[in-house]
């Protein structure tokens, strides 16, 4: 493994037990996050991006189960860790920010107490820890931070709460920050502020970020690398520039075309992706995108494509069209 690699997911599969059978939410996920880089995890609802994000710190829902593969965090497999080992990395080396800041903080405990609690393994007196918490709050832009330690979450607005969550997540200077759609619940003008803040703090602390989002524009703006997911599989990954300039997978191409922000001229007929997500209990054979793909050919229906190299280094896509033999 490359010493610069912080997180490596190898052939990861996750299943959920549901009343209609085992839902194969993630299948054969491969990805890599180098130290100090920001990776965007992008896809539409139901693609499994949040499941993947939660599994990175071992936080799967009760009915979820890793059915294969490994998540190597700094060389250690997260999927095989005991509860104690998981706790040791959570909040110290891996932190999370959640989608809805309104519910992410405990409503009956003061901000200060919650920030003190997460430092329970750190050295120092309570007074030092409180001071550290106050400094961090100030850093994320909470006015009058020291006094706000005694406030309860409901006394803050949504944008301020998300700032508090970011302060908590970065308080212990983690190596990896997992941000699950941290701006989706916020208004556009507040989203910009949060993105800006994340970028500044990332540069200051030099941590890696896995940034989950469905918003292509935000990912293009913030991230270095991007991984695109569709129906539980990685369809394309690479640097943001390569992927967004030269999308190799038909799904990525279609998704980029759908984004109204990309269109310079007003049109009455926006491009769409016809069809529906496949059933993940009874996963179809062949390429997962075959039923909605414009370039589908016979091999797509029978053989499952692997992540193939493109013309650029580090840019890969799971499409038969990229396969040298297939292109004849």
């Amino acid at each position: 493994m490359n010493p610069e690699t912080l997180l490596q997911v190898q052939n990861l599969s996750i299943e959920f037990g549901t009343s209609s059978g085992r839902l194969r939410a993630l299948r054969g996920i491969d990805l890599e996050v180098p130290k100090g880089r920001i990776m965007g995890l992008v896809g539409e609802s139901g693609c499994g991006k949040s499941t993947l994000a939660y599994s990175l710190s071992g936080l799967l829902a009760g009915n979820g189960e890793v059915s294969g593969g490994a998540i190597l965090f700094d060389g250690a497999d997260v999927t095989k860790m005991s509860d104690k080992e998981l706790r040791d990395i959570r909040g110290r080396r891996v932190s999370m920010i959640f989608q809805d800041p309104m519910t992410a903080l405990n409503p009956v405990i003061t901000i200060g107490r919650q920030m003190l609690d997460i430092q329970y393994r750190e050295p120092g007196t309570n007074a030092e820890k409180r001071a550290r918490a106050a400094r961090m709050l100030e850093r994320v832009g909470i006015p009058d931070a020291a006094a706000q330690l005694g406030s309860y979450p409901h006394q803050f607005s949504g944008g301020m709460r998300q700032r508090v969550c970011i302060a908590m997540a970065l308080l212990t200077k983690p190596d990896l920050l997992i941000a699950d759609e941290p701006t989706t619940a916020l208004d556009a003008t507040l989203e910009v502020q949060i993105i800006e803040l994340l970028r500044e703090l990332q540069q200051e602390m030099d941590c890696a970020i896995v940034f989950v989002s469905h918003h292509l524009g935000t990912v293009a703006e913030l991230c270095d690398d991007v991984t695109l997911m569709y129906a539980g599989e990685v369809v394309e990954r690479g640097s943001v520039r390569d992927v967004f300039h030269n999308p190799a997978h038909p799904y990525t191409q279609a998704l980029l075309e759908c984004d109204p922000a990309r269109m310079k001229v007003a049109t009455r007929q926006l491009p769409t992706i016809p069809g529906m997500l496949p059933n993940l209990v009874d996963v179809p054979q062949g390429c997962i995108f075959a039923s909605r793909c414009q370039h589908v050919w016979e091999r797509c229906r029978s053989a499952h494509p692997h992540l193939s190299k493109t013309a650029t280094v580090g840019h890969r896509a799971a499409c038969h069209l990229l396969d040298a033999e297939g292109r004849t």
Partner: protein
């Protein structure tokens, strides 16, 4: 073309606290959620109303539908003043104005089938028709297969439920559709489908549409004119294309830059506004945007800006003639 809907100086108030508390604190009991907006829609035209949460945009919709009383100002539909219309007038009006609600699934009565849902307006207004045939016709119009008539709302995806909402809105051949966040909660590819459907209906049936949204991208391709709302007032109105090409108000500029195109090399000039939208219960002095504006001058906190014209029905409220929103 004739003016279909004309709103003048509309004010809508909400109670902020109980009567007793207001008396004790000697404060105003009510605040203006909508503080004097004027606009008009011509027959077959589309208007976009854009603002963030708390801007009062949904309150405008509810007032137009008669679900909320106007505090002052006037609303005229097809030449008739409906500001204080009684139940009788509204019964007639509701055949001509249809509404699409924000929550695609939640706005459908959970125990009715899709077939009954789309024909519900016919039943409410006592139309006698072959309901099954009507359901089939309406579903076909929005591109849903006939057998969907037997399904219940919870068996639909967001996009399908949205289509049912459109079908229901079309049931009585309305002249105006008010669409509140028509793309909320939908994925990008589905959003485009819904917008295409709305554009098609407007083009084919000549229905006027008022689109209410927080996302400027939504209005760009389907509206003729756009109004930007901040704190219950319009800060900029004009032809949609002009607003996109040459935004005049700094807030419009910030909103435009908040939907960046997915290109890492495109100009990263996102305008970062400081702070959050103030509460309409406690309005700032002067230009109400001055606390967050990057170009604010001493004058801004003192004087209320009037509407300045930028030609061709393009108007904005800023003391400065901003050439480009990005400054």
């Amino acid at each position: 073309m004739s003016v279909l809907l004309e709103v003048e100086n509309l004010v809508v108030r909400y109670p902020a606290m109980g009567r007793v508390r207001a008396a004790l604190r000697r404060q105003e009991r009510e605040f203006d959620a909508v503080a004097g907006v004027s606009f008009s829609i011509e027959a077959g035209q589309t208007l976009g109303l854009v603002g963030e949460s708390g801007s009062g945009k949904s309150t405008v919709a509810r007032t137009l539908m008669g679900l909320k009383r106007a505090g002052s100002g006037s609303i005229r539909f097809d030449g008739r003043d409906i500001t204080r219309a009684g139940a009788q007038d509204y019964a007639r009006l509701r055949r001509e104005i249809a509404m699409m609600w924000q929550d695609p699934v939640g706005s459908l009565s959970p125990r009715l089938t899709v077939g009954s849902l789309v024909t519900e307006p016919l039943r409410i207004h006592g139309k006698t028709a072959d309901m099954a045939a009507e359901a089939k016709r309406l579903l076909e119009m929005v591109g849903l297969p006939e057998h969907f008539a037997g399904r219940f709302p919870h068996q639909l995806s967001g996009g399908q439920a949205r289509r049912v909402g459109v079908a229901r809105a079309l049931a009585l051949d309305p002249r105006l559709i008010i669409a509140d966040e028509p793309t909320a909660g939908l994925d990008m590819s589905v959003q485009a489908e819904v917008l295409n459907l709305l554009a098609e209906m407007q083009g084919r049936l000549g229905i006027a549409i008022l689109v209410i949204t927080h996302n400027l991208n939504v209005v760009r391709h389907i509206t003729d004119r756009t109004a930007i709302m901040y704190l219950g007032r319009f800060v900029e109105t004009g032809p949609t294309e002009q607003i996109f090409q040459a935004p005049r108000h700094p807030y419009t500029g910030a909103l435009l830059s908040a939907n960046p195109e997915p290109d890492p090399d495109a100009a990263r000039a996102r305008i970062t506004l400081t702070g959050e939208m103030p509460s309409p219960r406690n309005r700032p002095s002067g230009c109400e945007f001055h606390g967050r504006c990057l170009r604010a001058q001493p004058q801004c906190s003192a004087t209320v800006p009037e509407f300045s014209s930028a030609g061709d029905q393009h108007a904005f409220t800023c003391h400065f003639l901003v050439r480009n929103g990005a400054g």
